[in-house]
C-alpha cells in the first residue's frame, strides 16, 4: 500500500440518502488475554460514523467506549472485524502507514491537554502540519485561531495558559490539518463546568461551520447533549442509539443502560 495514495475522502457504500460514513467499523471484536483469563472489551460492534456530524459514545466504565474509539482511530488493532477510515481499510496497515493516516486524516483531543511544554501555543497548533513536512497556510491558521479565541495568547507557553486555554490550543491543533474525522477523549474531563461548556461550544461550532466530523467519548451527559447522535455501549455491545436530545434524556438513558 503506497502511503502517498491515501485519498482525501473516499466515496463508499450507503446510498440511502443520508450523509456518507467516513468511519466504519464492522463486527469489531477486541479481546485481551487468552483462554480462561480472556477479557472481551468489544464483542462485535458495528458502527457507521456519519460525515459532518458529531457522534458521542457513552457508557459506564468497562463498557468498551474508550476501546472502540482507539480502534476506530487506528491506535489499536481489533482481534477481529474491519475498520475503514476515509475509505481505507486500516486493519492491514503497518505502523508507518497508520501514523501517516493519523497525521493526514485524524485529529485528536485528549483529556489531559498534552501540549508540548516548550513550544508556544502557535507552535503547538502547527505541529501536525510540521510533522507532515508542510508549512501551514497563514490564512487558515488565522481563521482557526480566531475561531478558538486565542488571538492574544499565541506566543505563550502552556505553563502560562489556563486549563481552558490549553484545551483550546488542543482543539485548534486537532483541526489544523482539516482531518477527515476528529476524535475527542473526555475533552471536558479536566475542566470546570463553565470552561467545559466553552470547549463544547467550540466543538459544536466546528461541526456546524467547518463540517468537521467528530467522535466524542464522554461520561458527561452535558457534553453528550451537544451531539447529533449518542451511542450507548455496555459490556462490549452498542445497546442504545439515539439522535440529538437533552442532557436529562441522556441521563435517563445512561441509567437504563447501566442497570441492565
Amino acid at each position: 500500500m503506497d502511503v502517498q495514495q491515501l485519498p482525501d475522502a473516499a466515496p463508499e457504500v450507503e446510498t440511502n440518502g443520508g450523509p456518507r460514513p467516513v468511519v466504519k467499523g464492522s463486527d469489531v471484536v477486541r479481546r485481551y488475554g487468552e483462554g480462561d483469563t480472556a477479557v472481551d472489551a468489544l464483542r462485535g460492534v458495528s458502527v457507521d460514523i456519519a460525515e459532518g456530524r458529531l457522534t458521542a459514545v457513552m457508557g459506564p466504565s468497562g463498557s468498551g467506549k474508550s476501546t472502540l474509539m482507539h480502534i476506530l482511530a487506528g491506535l489499536d488493532k481489533p482481534t477481529s472485524g474491519e475498520v475503514t477510515v476515509a475509505g481505507v481499510e486500516v486493519t492491514d496497515l503497518d505502523d508507518t502507514e497508520l501514523t501517516v493516516l493519523r497525521r493526514d486524516h485524524i485529529g485528536f483531543i485528549f483529556q489531559f491537554f498534552n501540549l508540548l511544554p516548550m513550544l508556544t501555543a502557535a507552535e503547538n497548533i502547527a505541529l501536525p502540519l510540521r510533522l507532515a513536512g508542510e508549512t501551514p497556510d497563514k490564512a487558515w491558521l488565522a481563521e482557526l485561531i480566531e475561531k478558538v479565541g486565542l488571538g492574544d495568547r499565541l506566543t505563550h507557553r502552556p505553563a502560562e495558559l489556563s486549563g481552558g486555554q490549553q484545551q483550546r490550543v488542543a482543539v485548534a491543533r486537532a483541526l489544523v490539518s482539516r482531518p477527515t474525522v476528529m476524535f475527542a477523549d473526555e475533552p471536558t474531563g479536566n475542566l470546570d463546568s463553565t470552561t467545559g461548556g466553552e470547549i463544547l461550544a467550540l466543538l459544536r461550532d466546528s461541526v456546524d461551520t467547518l463540517g468537521q466530523t467528530t467522535v466524542m467519548v464522554t461520561h458527561d451527559a452535558h457534553a453528550a447533549a451537544i451531539a447529533d447522535r449518542v451511542l450507548f455501549l455496555a459490556d462490549g455491545h452498542i445497546v442504545k442509539d439515539i439522535g440529538r436530545c437533552s442532557a436529562h434524556t441522556i441521563l435517563e438513558a445512561l441509567e437504563e443502560v447501566t442497570a441492565r
Binding site: 491506535l75 501514523t99 493519523r102 511544554p117 510533522l131
Partner: protein, 847 residues
C-alpha cells in the same frame, strides 16, 4: 528505610546498572593499576630473591657513574683463586653479569634477532659446575659445557619454539656462531625478565665471546655453614682491591628491589592519575543521574512524607541507594581491574613477568573505599533536594521539584569558582620556588575547581550554545527542531550531562595542543642544529655500537661520515652527558650557535680541548680556559680545558653538556658507543645505505628530511598512549549520556505517545532523540575544546623560555569534534529505539 530503598533499586534494575557503570570504569582503572604494579613488584622481588638465594656476598666493579652504558672495572681471575682459599668460604664462582656491555642476540627462526623491540639482548656466564650462583634456574635440560653449548631463557625458547637439542645461532658482539641448545632456564618463577633474551654460556666460553679473557664481571661467594655473612665479609674484604667493591648479597637484593619499587611507584601514580580522572567524570554522571531520578520520583517522596516519613528518612533513602550502587560498582570494578591490568601492561609496553596476579588487600580497600566515597559524595546534593519535596506534591498533578535555593546564585558562584581556579592554576604554572607537591596541589585542585565552575555556569550557556550547535539539526526537519527545544527545556540537566563529556575532551585537547607545540618546537630545534643527507641514531635515543657507524661509513657512495660518541661520566664530580665529536667533520653537519669561539675552535679541539653548552657554563660558572676533570665508568680520569661555549636550543640540546674530541673520548671510554653518525652522500646512495643499516640491531636509518619528524616519533607514541588513557573518561561520560537520555525518554512517555498519535513516525521519533544526544555532545565539545586550548596556552606561556609556541592542531581538534558527534549518536541508539518502540496506547495513558 533501607528496605524501601532497596526495593526501589530492585524495581529499577536497569537504571541502577547504567548508573553503576559510571563508577565501574574508574574503579577498575584504579584497581588495575594496583594489580599491575603489585604483580610486577612481586615478580621482581621473586627474581631478586632467586638471584641471591644461595649467595652471601658479591664482588663487582665499583659503580662510579650511574647511567653509563660502559661496564665497570673488571674482576681478575686471580682474585677468585684467593677467595676460594679462605676458610670461611664454602664456594665461590665467577660470573658474567646481566650488563648492557654483554650483548648477545639469539637468532630466531626467521633469521632475525629474537626478542621484541627494545628489550635487551644479553649474554650471561657462570661456572656451570656451581649453578647456584646463576640467577637463572634450569627448567629443562642441562647447563652448557664448553664452547659449543648454550642455555636460553624460557620465554625466548617458547616464542621461537626452540627445544633442548636444537642447533641455534647466537651472535655475541657481532660474531655469529652455532651452538647446541642444551637447556632452558627461568628467572626464579618468571619466564623472562622484562622481555630480555638471555643466552647463558659456561664461564670460560662467556669470557672468550665477550672479549673478557682472564676477567669476570663479578664473583659470587657462599659462606660455610655456621659462618655469618658479616664474618664472611670481614674475611674477604682485605683481598678486594680499591677498584672493586664487596657487597652483602641480601643488601644488594634489597637495594635492587628498592630501585625497582621507585620506578614502579612513578608508573603507579601516573596511571592512578588517569583512574582518578575517570572517577571524577563518574562522579558527575552519578550526580546527574541521581538528580534526574530524584526529580522523577517527586510524587514518590511526597507520598513517603505524607505517610509520616521524616526528611532525614527521605535523605537516607537516596543516600542508601547511592551507597548500594557505589558498593556494587566498586566490587565489579575491583575484579574488572584484573583484566584492565593486562590491558595497561600491553599499553605501556612493559612485559609483566609471568607470575601470579596479585590482588592485594590495599587494592581491595582502596577500590571499595574510593568507589563508595565518590558515589556518596555525588549523592549528597540530589538527596538534599529530595528532602525539599512537600507532602502536598503527592496529590497534585504534574508536580515538579522545587528549585534549589542555590539556583538563584549559581551564576555568581560559578564565576567566583572559575576565577579562583584560574588564579590557582596560574600560580601553579608560573610561580617559581614551589615544591612539587605544591605545584601538583595548585594545578590539580585548580583544574578540578575549574571543571566544577564551568559545570556550574554551563546551564546558563545551554540556550545560546544550543542555538549554535543545534542549527544543523533544526535545518534537518521538525525532529531536529523539537530536539533543540527539548535540549533547552531543562538546561541544568543538559549542562550536567555535557559537562561530563567536557572533562574528557578538555584533557585530550590539552594533550593535543601541548603535544603539537612541543613537537613543533623540538623539530625546529633539531633542524636548527643538524643538517645531513643521512643519519643513523640509536633506538629511542639510546646509544648504538660504534662498529655499526663505521660499517655504514664504509658503504660505497659515502663522501663524508662524522660519528658522535656518547656516554655518561662524572664531570667535576657530577653525572653529565659527554659527547665525542670528530673535529674535522662535525661542523659540516652540526651548527654551533657560538657564544665564545667559532667553527675553528672545534677543528682545533685536540686531545684536551672541550666545548660546553651555555647552560652548563652559566650553571657551573665555567669560562673559556677553565679546567674540567672527567672520570669515566671504568675509573679513567682525564682533564680537559674549555675552549669554546655554544648555545643550543634549551628544549633539546643534541650534544652533551661537555663535548671533547673523538680521539680523546675513545682513549678514556673503553667501549665507545655512538649517539649519531652523520653521512654525506648523493641521494642515489640512499637505497644502499638503507640496506646496510637494515642489518643493524640497535640503530635506525633516517634521511635528512625525515630526521626531525622521526626524532619526535617516540613522543608521538607517548601522546597516543595518553589519548587511550583519557578515552576511559570519555567512555564514562558516554554512559552518562545514555543514562540521561533513557531517563528523559521515560519521563516523556505520555508526551511521546501524543506526538506519535498526532502523526510523528517512529523514524522521526528516533531522529529526534538522536539529535538531542548529538546536541548535548556538541555542547560538551563547545565547552571542552576552548577550555583545553586555554589551559594549554597557559602551560605554553610558562614554557616560553624554551621557545615553545602555541600550535593549534586543527585536524586533531576536528577529529575530537567528530568523536563527540559519534559519541552522541552511539549514546542515542538504545534510548531512540525505546522512544520509537513505545506502544502508543500505553504511552497515552501513562501516569
Amino acid at each position: 528505610m533501607i528496605g524501601v530503598a532497596l526495593k526501589g533499586l530492585l524495581a529499577r534494575k536497569v537504571r541502577a546498572l547504567l548508573t553503576a557503570f559510571a563508577i565501574v570504569i574508574g574503579v577498575s582503572m584504579v584497581s588495575g593499576t594496583f594489580v599491575l604494579t603489585d604483580t610486577m613488584q612481586k615478580a621482581f622481588d621473586g627474581i631478586f630473591t632467586a638471584s641471591y638465594d644461595e649467595t652471601d656476598a658479591v664482588i663487582a666493579g665499583k659503580q662510579i657513574v650511574k647511567g653509563s652504558s660502559s661496564a665497570g672495572a673488571p674482576v681478575p681471575e686471580s682474585l677468585l683463586t684467593r677467595v676460594k682459599a679462605l676458610p670461611e668460604v664454602a664456594a665461590a664462582g665467577g660470573t658474567m653479569a646481566i650488563d648492557e656491555s654483554n650483548k648477545a642476540e639469539i637468532v630466531g627462526r626467521n633469521g632475525k634477532p629474537a626478542g621484541s623491540g627494545n628489550a635487551p639482548r644479553l649474554a650471561l656466564g657462570n661456572d656451570t659446575s656451581q649453578p647456584q650462583f646463576s640467577p637463572l634456574k634450569l627448567s629443562a635440560g642441562e647447563w652448557g659445557q664448553g664452547p659449543k653449548q648454550v642455555v636460553i631463557d624460557a620465554a625466548t625458547a617458547e616464542k621461537e619454539r626452540y627445544a633442548v637439542g636444537d642447533s641455534i645461532v647466537v651472535s655475541t658482539l657481532g660474531d655469529k656462531h652455532r651452538y647446541e641448545l642444551t637447556g632452558i632456564a627461568t628467572f626464579g618463577d618468571v619466564d623472562s625478565l622484562g622481555g630480555a633474551t638471555l643466552a647463558v654460556f659456561d664461564i670460560d666460553t662467556a669470557q672468550t665471546l665477550l672479549h673478557k679473557e682472564g676477567e669476570f664481571d663479578g664473583i659470587s661467594i657462599a659462606a660455610k655453614d655456621g659462618t655469618s655473612s658479616a664474618a664472611l665479609m670481614q674475611a674477604v674484604q682485605p683481598l678486594v682491591p680499591a677498584s672493586l667493591e664487596l657487597k652483602d648479597a641480601k643488601a644488594q637484593a634489597e637495594a635492587d628491589s628498592a630501585e625497582i619499587n621507585e620506578a614502579l611507584g612513578f608508573i603507579r601514580y601516573f596511571l592512578l592519575g588517569f583512574g582518578g580522572i575517570a572517577l571524577f567524570v563518574g562522579a558527575f554522571v552519578i550526580f546527574n543521574t541521581l538528580s534526574i531520578t530524584v526529580a522523577q520520583r517527586t510524587r514518590e517522596f511526597a507520598t513517603l512524607r505524607t505517610l509520616g516519613g521524616s526528611r532525614k528518612q527521605v535523605m537516607r533513602s537516596v543516600i542508601i541507594e547511592g551507597f548500594v550502587i557505589g558498593l556494587l560498582a566498586s566490587i565489579v570494578g575491583l575484579f574488572a581491574g584484573v583484566g584492565i591490568a593486562k590491558g595497561l601492561n600491553a599499553l605501556i609496553g612493559a612485559d609483566i613477568p609471568e607470575a601470579g596476579t596479585v590482588l592485594g588487600v590495599r587494592t581491595v580497600v582502596v577500590s571499595l573505599v574510593l568507589g563508595v566515597t565518590i558515589t556518596l559524595v555525588a549523592s549528597i546534593m540530589p538527596a538534599r533536594r529530595a528532602t525539599r519535596v512537600p507532602p502536598i506534591a503527592a496529590v497534585r498533578e504534574g508536580s515538579t521539584l522545587p528549585p534549589s535555593r542555590f539556583a538563584a546564585h549559581s551564576l555568581k558562584a560559578a564565576i567566583a569558582v572559575i576565577a579562583a581556579s584560574v588564579v590557582a592554576i596560574c600560580a601553579g604554572v608560573f610561580a617559581s620556588g614551589l615544591s612539587v607537591i605544591g605545584v601538583a596541589v595548585l594545578l590539580g585542585g585548580g583544574i578540578i575547581a575549574l571543571f566544577l565552575g564551568v559545570a556550574l555556569a554551563a546551564p546558563h550557556l545551554v540556550k545560546p550554545l544550543t542555538r549554535v550547535v543545534g542549527w544543523p539539526a533544526s535545518r534537518a526537519g521538525v525532529a531536529g527542531e523539537l530536539a533543540g527545544a527539548n535540549s533547552t527545556r531543562n538546561p541544568g540537566r543538559t549542562a550536567s550531562t555535557a559537562a561530563a563529556l567536557m572533562i574528557g575532551l578538555t584533557l585530550v585537547t590539552v594533550v593535543a595542543v601541548l603535544g603539537a607545540g612541543l613537537r613543533t618546537t623540538v623539530e625546529s630545534a633539531v633542524t636548527d642544529q643538524v643538517s645531513a643527507a643521512f643519519i643513523i641514531d640509536g633506538k629511542d635515543g639510546a646509544p648504538f655500537e660504534a662498529a655499526e657507524g663505521n660499517t655504514l661509513a664504509r658503504t660505497p657512495g659515502v663522501t663524508t661520515a662524522s660519528h658522535v660518541r656518547t656516554d655518561v661520566a662524572l664531570v667535576g664530580g657530577e653525572e653529565r652527558d659527554v659527547t665525542g665529536v670528530d673535529p674535522a667533520t662535525i661542523a659540516q653537519f652540526y651548527t654551533f650557535a657560538w657564544t665564545k669561539g667559532s667553527d675553528d675552535t672545534v677543528a682545533q679541539l685536540g686531545q684536551d680541548g672541550a666545548l660546553v653548552t651555555k647552560t652548563y657554563a652559566d650553571d657551573k660558572n665555567v669560562a673559556v680556559g677553565k679546567r674540567l676533570s672527567i672520570k669515566t665508568a671504568s675509573g679513567d680520569k682525564r682533564t680537559v680545558v674549555v675552549a669554546g661555549i655554544y648555545d643550543p636550543p634549551d628544549i633539546e640540546q643534541m650534544l652533551g653538556d661537555v663535548t671533547i674530541s673523538q680521539a680523546a673520548f675513545d682513549a678514556s671510554f673503553p667501549q665507545p658507543k655512538n649517539l649519531f653518525t652523520f653521512i654525506d652522500a648523493p641521494p642515489e646512495a640512499s637505497a644502499d645505505l638503507a640496506a646496510v643499516a637494515g642489518g643493524f640491531s640497535d640503530a635506525t636509518f633516517h634521511t635528512g628530511q625525515a630526521f626531525a619528524k622521526d626524532y619526535t616519533e617516540g613522543f608521538a607514541s607517548f601522546l597516543k598512549m595518553l589519548y587511550v588513557l583519557l578515552a576511559f573518561s570519555v567512555v564514562v561520560s558516554l554512559f552518562g549520556m545514555v543514562n540521561t537520555l533513557v531517563l528523559s525518554v521515560f519521563e516523556r512517555t505520555r508526551e511521546l505517545g501524543m506526538l506519535r498519535t498526532i502523526g510523528m513516525t517512529r523514524r522521526q521519533a528516533r531522529r529526534m532523540i538522536r539529535h538531542e544526544s548529538v546536541i548535548t555532545a556538541l555542547i560538551g565539545a563547545a565547552l571542552g575544546l576552548p577550555l583545553g586550548i586555554f589551559l594549554a596556552a597557559l602551560v605554553t606561556q610558562a614554557l616560553s623560555q624554551y621557545d615553545v609556541g602555541l600550535s593549534i592542531p586543527a585536524s586533531e581538534l576536528a577529529l575530537f569534534t567528530v568523536v563527540a558527534i559519534l559519541a552522541g549518536i552511539a549514546a542515542a541508539v538504545v534510548p531512540a529505539r525505546r522512544a520509537a518502540r513505545l506502544n502508543v496506547l500505553d504511552a497515552l495513558h501513562y501516569e
